[in-house]
Symmetry: C2
Subunit: 418 residues, 2 copies
């Protein structure tokens, strides 16, 4: 894509009330726009990153046999009353309003209740199970404070997966498959080494839930990590009994600031019992369905990645989620330079490399500053000098040094098989 065909405009005016580094950088680089505290619009570049993250998550969710659907934002009061999660005393993040006829409605901050209630239409026999469904939903949560940029929004995108299993054993198997899928996802977005599978508060149904916590100074959580045994415990539940039970040594635990990028819950059969989701087994006995729920905060994940990788010059995206893999610019106004750059641009497009061609009439320094700010992984430059040497100037966003590479080197560096 040519940069002049793209809505990509650096904003010099970062809102004065913006405190979070991730939001400041994303606003400056033209990825997001702040509508109000904790509420951000995603400009074309920002939407590309979201869609790239979603596509990785979608791919891994499909691999474990789950199907994508989309539930609704508008929620029925009487449904949430059945699980005692309607009142503002129990759940303090509801946005609520009224239909014209006075009926109170809520806006979805979570979707266990409506999906489980819906399943009653489709599940009656053991033959109808298991079912695994997920969605990418815009959740609305009336947070008291929203100061972490896109890491904790009042409006944000979440992937939530729900599993409906016959037995605890079936559930446990799928639970493990989801853990494996989550590990693959965090690996693919570049967070494998800094993301830790963590014991967390279990709530009403099980002893523990599990979280995926990424080391991040801007995070709101604290974990205690034993790097050797790869055991991590959320600060909220750390206890001597816990340390003993997990057979770890307290002195090995490292206290780390983290951001929760994923969580998984076993609900057992309690929610199914509350909402009336039962199946008939092979012998005609009526049994409640076993429920699990598995979340990944898509926009939060984007924010964490910004916080972890950005430097003084701007954003740095992992290749897998960058809006473009390659940024291409020219130096000088020579006819051959433009011709050679155009040829390279067309070659990269033909090979399916997402390339942003900076065709603006600006000085090289300004173009390079744009490239750095946008965080595109690779920068390619064509100049009279590169043409003379039959090479291209190549630079990784995360490196300082510039390399000079020929066509063959370039194809290897970008893993182009032509």
């Amino acid at each position: 894509m040519k940069i002049t065909d793209l809505f990509v405009k650096a904003s010099k005016n970062v809102p004065v009330d913006e405190q979070a580094t991730n939001a400041k950088l994303l606003i400056q680089a033209g990825y997001v726009h702040k509508e109000m505290a904790g509420v951000y619009a995603y400009l074309p570049l920002g939407l590309m990153v979201i869609e790239n993250i979603k596509q990785i998550v979608r791919d891994e969710m499909n691999k474990i046999g789950s199907n994508e659907l989309i539930m609704t934002s508008l929620q029925r009061k009487e449904l949430w009353e059945r699980t005692n999660r309607w009142s503002d005393q129990e759940v303090d993040v509801w946005f609520k309003s009224h239909l014209k006829n006075g009926t109170e409605v809520g806006f979805g901050w979570s979707h266990e209740e409506p999906i489980t209630d819906m399943m009653r239409n489709y599940v009656s026999s053991y033959r109808d199970l298991p079912q695994y469904v997920y969605q990418f939903q815009t959740k609305l949560r009336n947070e008291l404070r929203a100061k972490s940029g896109i890491m904790r929004g009042r409006e944000f995108v979440m992937k939530d997966l729900y599993s409906y299993s016959l037995t605890d054993k079936d559930h446990d198997k799928f639970y493990q498959e989801t853990i494996d899928a989550y590990n693959r996802i965090f690996d693919r977005v570049g967070l494998a080494s800094s993301t830790h599978f963590t014991y967390a508060s279990g709530g009403a149904f099980t002893q523990f839930s599990h979280e995926f916590q990424t080391e991040c100074e801007a995070g709101e959580d604290i974990i205690h990590l034993d790097r050797k045994s790869k055991v991590a415990i959320n600060d909220e539940i750390l206890s001597d009994a816990m340390i003993k039970g997990l057979k770890i040594n307290a002195s090995n635990l490292e206290k780390i600031k983290t951001a929760e990028v994923g969580n998984i819950f076993s609900f057992g059969s309690k929610k199914s019992e509350q909402l009336g989701l039962y199946y008939t087994d092979g012998k005609g006995a009526k049994k409640p369905v076993i429920l699990g729920s598995y979340g990944i905060g898509i926009t939060r994940l984007m924010g964490v990645i910004v916080e972890k990788f950005a430097d003084g010059k701007g954003l740095i995206w992992p290749e897998s989620i960058a809006p473009f893999r390659v940024y291409l610019a020219t130096i000088g106004d020579d006819k051959d330079v433009h011709h050679s750059a155009k040829k390279l641009y067309e070659f990269l497009q033909k090979e399916g490399v997402a390339v942003l061609y900076d065709d603006r009439d600006l000085r090289a320094g300004e173009k390079f500053a744009t490239c750095d700010m946008l965080g595109i992984p690779y920068r390619l430059v064509v100049s009279e000098k590169t043409i003379k040497n039959k090479k291209f100037e190549f630079k990784k966003r995360s490196n300082i040094e510039v390399e000079f590479v020929n066509q063959n080197d370039l194809e290897n560096l970008l893993a182009i098989k032509s």
Copy 2:
């Protein structure tokens, strides 16, 4: 995809309060789930159709040089007060709520105001224009009645495009390009011959707006159409002066029930003036930006297509938006039959044909009923008889007759180039 790997379950229980044919059929076939009146969740098959429609619309929007972004649902009161569209007296479809600190917020039913306000960050000089941006947004509208299924929801998906132009002339040129793009879209989803470019009420800024109205008995609009001259007028604005002005003959006008699938508006500069969106021209003069807005109701379009094409046996999807192009089933339990079907399934997948393989252990009649209900365009059957004759049984969903085709015929029918 194998049907047993897909969340696709016919629901025998259509809600008793459901009046709309489109919703009844979509619920029965397992495409949508009714959460409340005018609020529908989209199950995997339904989401596939939405995504297919969106992809066609996205493709045509990108072709006319516009960029996709995504605005927010949460809306600021003070912004909408500036254009006098906050009060319930002026706009009667708002859902409103409060932040924890008491600040009143609305939920987006339209997005001219926030997008135009946002543009003030990015537009200051004539060099920053034109800008064309669009989104697929879940709109929330507090409709008094919601009895038309997915054709008029309280929560629905809309594509809205906004154009920001320097001059009326530039605006008119893009306005025409959008008309052409809309015609291509309605052509690609199978509605070309029944969708009419229609003069409609202009509102405050221009004499007319324009609508794309599709002939549909379940629609809520009425147009007067001169088929010969291809002029259509919304019943709301029909007048003798209008007929005279358009140089048509009143006796040629046909009165038709229609559904509005698209609309386009010229806002002139009034909204830019209200919201403070100005640019500086080449001579240093400050001028308001010219605004246009262009909508297509994605979920409504899906509902209209259901209403127009469905028959007594179920849904019928145009090939371009069907969740699968081909439905494949076997008759009998013969080993060769299963082997041959599996080979065909793998071949179609390899060729990129979206195929739904009904691997359930059911009688042929039940399978065929599923295929008809789901509305998959082509049905392929493998049986002992077809193997003996070295053919496949082939049937179009919209035809009654079955054909017997060989591998070569099949590749031609499905436009497979191997």
